[in-house]
Amino acid sequence: MSETQIDRTVSTFTKHLRQTEIALPADLVHKSMDELNGKSFPTTRHEAWKYTRLTKLSKLSPTVATKHEGINSPAYAIHSTGNRIVIENGTVNFDASQFETVSGLTIKRFSECSADELDHVGSMLSVENELFNAMNTAYLQEGILIQIADKAQIEAPIELIHVLSKVECSATIRLFIHIGKFAKAELTIGTWAAGAEQSILNAVAEIHVSEGAHFTLRKLQSEEEGNFQICTEEITQEKDSVFTMHTVTLNGTLVRNNVRVRVNGSNCETNLYGAYLLKGNQHTDNHTVIDHMMPHCLSNEMYKGVIDEQATAVFNGKVFVRKDAQKINAFQSNGNVLMSDTASVNSKPELEIYADDVKCSHGSTTGQLDEEAVFYLQSRGISERSARNLLVEAFIGEVLEKNDNQDFTDKTNAILNERFGWER
């Protein structure tokens, strides 16, 4: 059957969804609805979706969950203490969440915010020709506003847990995060699923990192095969700020991560690190953009993947260095190891440089494990399985070790042990 014969219209997908009741700017909601009207899902002829098929997703007509299933949130928690917001199927599960008062930190649900408070929501996001952004606006169930006051140093990481717990349901969530001047904060986001076949999470985050602020975002994506996740992070950095992001993807039928960092000030540092370890029929697609608009900035980007069985991965990383952005150091690399003959990856690093005094590099490698190294290890009494594990761990360890939060490392290792039999 050719693609044109499949009903890929958005209206089939959205027929059970409800227009948002959040007090978002009205024109934004209208614009998003208009954007979706009569639209179809993009096909692989669409450049941004060239290697990621939305066919399976477009066949679904998910519903919106109306109640919580009583999930065991400590099982998902990465940090044992601190603020923990549990969002089950798109709405906050208060029983599973824990809130603490921390000076300089405001956490608020969109549903309890006035229109004035949500005035800036959507300002960093384009909905035009961005189907999932438009859906995230038009069908938004809930949002979380996180504000860090100027100069506030929030020690404990804030944790956000997404859990899908219902079959063929849709969870649509927005984050709006403002890190005040010279403030420092860390956010951990875990995405999980329990018996939620064919469910989809559409999560958008708008993040503003003010002058001199430090913000670290860590994401652990570990849903189940059968789940879909479309994640979009739009980050704006002001001068002298540092933004670091870790994305670890360990499961999911289709995980699409869109990360765009607009570096809108000089002397900024941007670090994007990603690791994906896939097997079965999983598919992970990382699309990243780092847009250097101002001079004297540094960006480091490293994504690494291990792809086994029939799993597939996509990496598309763009780095723009605008005309006035002199003295930029931008480094980007993507490395992949294919563990089976049926695993595949499409890697496309892109550099677009319009300034003339910059230091930039990018590289992409894809290959199998070094069989000579496997033999070498075996010849020292190490089993073939342990030998392969040692080599894979060494490969992916380079990027996992960039994360300096022990809780996040421990949870990642626990899942790797469970799913791949690793003991790190």
Binding site: D370, S386, L391
Partner: protein, 251 residues
Amino acid sequence: MITIKNLHASIDGKEILKGLNLEVPAGQVHAIMGPNGAGKSTLASVLAGREDYEVTEGSVDFDGVDLLELSTEDRAREGMFLAFQYPVEIPGVSNVNFLRTSLNEIREYRGEEAISAKDFMAMVREKSAIVELDAKLASRSVNEGFSGGEKKRNEIFQMAMLEPKLAILDETDSGLDIDALRIVANGVNKLRSEKNATIVITHYQRLLDYIVPDVVHVLYNGRIVKSGPKELALELEEKGYDWIKAEQEAI
């Protein structure tokens, strides 16, 4: 220690070993010399269990076990050690992590307890001294950025750590300057005992001034064609291999 009978092995359908016989008793060092393409490295590879080679005929008895039936790792666990001609660089895997994994898998196979971290580190210090290997290299990634001499010393260091019954040194001397050669040879000599055996595969007689063999074998055209005392190495050094070839063609 090892008895090889009528060993035939081929790669990609091409026969390299053509009925090789060799016996090395415990407590002895045997050198195998021979011209290029004679099958020296093939022999090392076949004994270590490299899968590219197909054994079509013959038997290898390794201290009472049928070596050819064992996987590469089980050969090592039974006490076989191959010092590689070209040691492999393994970025991201530290020498110590690698050796601890190795030692513990071998111990597990033998029904012994895992080595404690303290005993392991003490062992690393003691054994690295044997080959004058900088202790810093032990914590670096396996062979990554090592000089040629350091790589070969690292092979002997691993040998010292694993205490094999039979060590096969595949051209361990090639590319070494005289100082490195002396260090490597000293290491090997220190590890010699009545209970283990060593096969030294080499091109050059020079190494045998430092590691004195009990027997020298000449490997030519896939078979051992001549065996003799250590003086045979000197004769080969002096006269080359043409007389061996001529002798063989005359048969």
